[in-house]
Symmetry: C2
Subunit: 123 residues, 2 copies
């Protein structure tokens, strides 16, 4: 899909996300894609050798476990960058709405094949 030439509303896009752990692309800039995702529960440990991954929590609370350092917990309005290649595992006890930005084509589970591996899809 081409980049939208109209403003994109985050809440409106998130309202269309019906599955957990299934990020949907909402815009693209400089080869990086912003994705809207709802999460609940525990994701798989993985990393992204292609680049850093930006998390922005819109609603709820997200903990990101990091293999080699202290976990971080993000509330609404918090942002965090998981550096390139750092093993991480997002965990959300309750439903949480998140924006994720990473390089176009990055797979949500990194190099880990999982039933949680999602297809690249615009919403």
């Amino acid at each position: 899909m081409a980049r939208p030439d109209m403003p994109v509303n985050v809440a409106e896009k998130l309202s269309k996300v019906t599955e957990y752990w299934s990020p949907k692309t909402i815009l693209e800039a400089n080869g990086y894609e912003m994705k809207a995702v709802k999460v609940k529960g525990e994701f798989v440990w993985h990393d992204h050798p292609e680049g850093d991954e930006l998390f922005i929590v819109v609603k709820g609370e997200l903990t990101i476990d990091l293999r080699d350092r202290q976990s971080v917990t993000l509330g609404a309005g918090d942002m965090f960058v998981v550096p390139r290649g750092v093993q991480h595992r997002p965990v959300a006890p309750e439903e949480c709405e998140v924006l994720i930005m990473d390089a176009a084509g990055v797979v949500n589970t990194g190099g880990v094949a999982s039933e949680l591996t999602a297809q690249d899809e615009w919403i």
Copy 2:
């Protein structure tokens, strides 16, 4: 400044911004910087040949006039990408809080020297 290894809270960062049109960097990912800025009034026409520029409105309303196409107006929770090289002019009749993401080192007024040209600064 090094990239923070703790979550960054958008509202907290914006509360530290005291000047209009003076974006402050709050995080970096893949060589792109997220900046918090308060705006009011009319900015200068300019463009960024280095890359696309992502706008995210946190509070208030921002119109982005575009030289070669229809203006867009963003409310809270709206995002928009001004493509690389497209002349644009942000306008906000009332105070508006915005996040802007573009390549590290990009100057807010592009190639236009202006009293509104800001220094690259972390907050």
